[in-house]
Subunit: 220 residues, 2 copies
Amino acid sequence: MYLSWQEAIPVTKRLTRQQSRELTREQLLQAAAELFAESGVNGTSVEQIVERAGYTRGAFYGNFDGKREIVLALLEQRTQRELEEMQALSQEAESFDGLLEHLRTWHRERDETLAGWLALRTELWLYGMRDPELLPVLADRERRSRAALAQALEQGFAARSVTPPAPVEFLALIMHSLGDGLSIQRVLSPEDSDADVVVDAVELLMRSWSALARQAPDTN
Amino acid sequence: MYLSWQEAIPVTKRLTRQQSRELTREQLLQAAAELFAESGVNGTSVEQIVERAGYTRGAFYGNFDGKREIVLALLEQRTQRELEEMQALSQEAESFDGLLEHLRTWHRERDETLAGWLALRTELWLYGMRDPELLPVLADRERRSRAALAQALEQGFAARSVTPPAPVEFLALIMHSLGDGLSIQRVLSPEDSDADVVVDAVELLMRSWSALARQAPDTN
DNA sequence: GACTTCAGATACAGTCTTGTATTGGAATAC
DNA sequence: GTATTCCAATACAAGACTGTATCTGAAGTC
């Protein structure tokens, strides 16, 4: 406990008010993200959040109206990041190989922190699912992700001159869902798979669909 | 709110002690399951559980040592049911068609309650994932499910005289994960799919894998 | 450099939650 | 029918959590 965030983040003394406020907000969000992953949204108190971030409750209520607000902000932040990642993927991937390579890198980089990452994602999912106002936001995020993936698939098939065996939107839905599901399984029993399991699975699907398309191009 | 469980469950007066205790326990578990799905494990108090079940806190602490205990019991109960379902599936499914038909029935029956069912499942998953003692239990459940599914696939391929394009365990892992992932997507945006989406996806996979196996039986 | 503003700390009142200790009453034993 | 057992209700004490109201000191303004 000797190394607190103060050592890790070079805090230039004499911050402007705005800088200070933004820094506080950011650190609160970061602390909340960690704690939500560790103990869940409902299992985390405001007190715990500010304690980990190195503040007191005053700082929290000055920046957020309550726990719901910080969850909202976190959801927005993570949604933004996720969409950017998805767009990066769909842009880079002009071929199946490019797409696979991108995926491989992504999963290998995140494998260490997969459990925490997935826990936070799941917590936000559950929270959003129960909030009538948030559900459409979440649904929209997934829809955009799938759309980006569908576009990538479209390009990939075109590059290989293969007619997809089903609408690319459906294929994207499958692939997207598979990523979630496999991550869950991987967190539960890491010894039953490796970091590349998602890539391997996706690759198998690609090959299978290509085979099916060649075998019966008019059957879908 | 006029119809409480008392109307639904015919309570024969003059219960034996054991019967009474079992009934209480069962009703507490049922109430907990509903509330956990609605508000999460950490978002549910013991008070709320006993209130919904129609008791007071005394009944709870007479049957469970605390919230962790009832979560444990619930996890065990649900695990048991799930394994039975999975075994039923792997027994019935002597062919792909049988397996698909079974799946179709299952998903259509549960579609109405999918959100609640998945929420509870996810809550238990998160809870178990964070408890070092429970994680292996959950992992074991998934492993058994996948094993049953793998067996069904094995039979299915054999019946068609097709060599699977990859180890059936891997195919089962994919299929199992896909079920989870697609359910998540379906809960988020029901209008983007229908109750049969899992079956449709699985069917596509089956056809694809068969096509791949026929195309290059020696490539795996 | 004095004044103002505002980010964050501190203090506090109120509510919710938990777990235990005790009690009442119905089932069981004889 | 009386005594005993034990399931569930009730009462209570202690602690956690929330949100607000107030205070302090550093940043911003002139």
